[in-house]
């Protein structure tokens, strides 16, 4: 297992009022993303626990691209990864942002 942490300054606060959301399942080639609205509007944190060690540079690129594209200000992402490919990671992150952008608790 390897623990990774990324912190970004972002342009704008994420949409929506939901306080948290969860997508995905921890399985081979899959991951779960728990997203919580718990940070100041201009910050974004991504905590990762991954079963595949040695892919820090790939994670850094995927998270950097995601933050640039979605501007997830105020959101903390916690990821449990079962060795997902980068495209699956991008998809789950996008699903998490979309889900927390909905109205509700």
């Amino acid at each position: 297992m390897e623990d990774l942490n990324f912190q970004h300054q972002v342009r704008a606060r994420a949409d929506g009022t939901r306080q948290r959301a969860i997508v995905g399942v921890v399985a081979s080639g899959n991951l779960e993303v728990l997203v919580e609205r718990s940070l100041p509007d201009a910050e974004c944190v991504v905590d990762i626990k991954t079963a595949a060690t040695g892919f820090g540079a790939v994670w850094s690129a995927v998270i950097g691209d995601f933050v640039e594209r979605y501007s997830p200000g105020g959101l903390k992402f916690s990821i449990n990864d079962g060795g997902a490919r980068p495209d699956t990671v991008s998809l789950r992150l996008a699903q998490a942002v979309r889900l927390i952008a909905e109205a509700g608790q």
Binding site: M1, I22, E32, L34, E36
Partner: protein, 312 residues
């Protein structure tokens, strides 16, 4: 053009969603009245397994089971749903404790039924002692809840089936609904083959596995009282039907269940294959049962299949 999602009613969405393919969260979302689900010990509390990191294995924030309460046709229910894709839906220490706690709460309240959406290979080997203890605690909590008047309904149609200790817990429920891919057994195909040899049970023979452990056979034998087609709406309707059917529980019930099982063994104990049992039950062309579409099978099962309605 497909219709935009917002124009689809919850029932239509549930009807078009495969129970087998859906995640545990999606199943609960579509099974219960829209928006009624409230989770206990949700993923944000990060109540993860204390054992998996010793084995360098990834954790899941809900430890593979979601517990909570919601409403079914406006009536309150407790629910538990296992996620069969996380470690095969297996019971570990935290996973088991969440179900035990839910059943104990149900016992204390007494009037609110429990739905358990099984999807499990049994006990998690990495925390085997804790998992075995959890199975025993759950069975005790379940029987105590039933003794206090709580109806406990099992819904089985997930990709991991309902095996090992999950099969034992399912056997304790007031009633079960099962779909064709939902298998119910204690020892799984690979376990039987490993211990007894390939002549006893060929785990790669999928047809053998499904006709021995699959939902159709379990329905015809009376282990499950309702057969559901593989969609969430069918399971919702099955749960409502079973909640209406289940009677009071006590010693007389258990004696009736003992008679039912003894009678079953007497009638079919010498059969070498599920097809022999179906033939003995009077089904013409019993070998065609696995091919029957759900509606035709349900009609057949309602005519010929056994039930545990007066027992259990």
């Amino acid at each position: 053009m497909t219709a935009p999602l917002k124009d689809i009613s919850p029932a239509e969405r549930a009807r078009s969603t495969s129970f087998y393919e859906a995640s545990a969260r999606t199943r609960l979302d579509l099974l219960l009245d829209a928006g009624s689900f409230v989770e206990f010990i949700g993923p944000e509390q990060r109540e993860v397994s204390p054992h998996l990191k010793i084995f360098d294995l990834p954790e899941q924030f809900d430890d593979g089971i979601i517990v909570g309460h919601g409403r079914l046709d406006d009536s309150p229910v407790f629910v538990a749903a296992q996620e069969g894709r996380f470690m095969g839906g297996a019971f570990g220490e935290v996973h088991g404790a969440k179900l035990t706690g839910l059943l104990r709460a149900a016992r204390q309240i007494g009037s609110i039924p429990v739905l358990i959406l099984f999807d499990t290979g049994g006990v998690r080997l990495q925390e085997a002692n804790a998992g075995e203890l959890a199975i025993a605690e759950i069975m005790r909590a379940l029987m105590e809840a039933r003794s206090a008047g709580v109806k406990v309904i099992g819904l089985i149609g997930g990709r991991s089936g309902c095996y090992g200790g999950g099969g034992l817990i399912a056997g304790c429920c007031s009633a079960l609904a099962v779909s064709e891919p939902g298998r119910i057994a204690v020892s799984g195909p690979e376990v039987i083959e490993t211990n007894r040899g390939v002549e006893e049970f060929d785990s790669r023979d999928r047809a053998l596995v499904w006709r021995t452990m699959g939902g159709k056979h379990r329905r015809l034998l009376g282990a499950a009282d309702v057969f559901a087609d593989d969609n969430v709406q069918d399971f919702r309707e099955a749960a409502l039907e079973l909640l209406g059917l289940v009677g009071p529980f006590g010693l007389d019930r258990l004696r009736a269940e003992q008679r039912r099982l003894a009678d079953r063994l007497r009638s079919f104990g010498d059969c070498g294959d599920a097809v022999d049992i179906w033939t003995a039950e009077g089904i013409a062309h019993a070998e065609a049962v696995p091919e029957l579409p759900a509606d035709q099978f349900i009609a057949l099962a309602n005519r010929i299949g056994r039930t545990s309605r007066d027992a259990r």
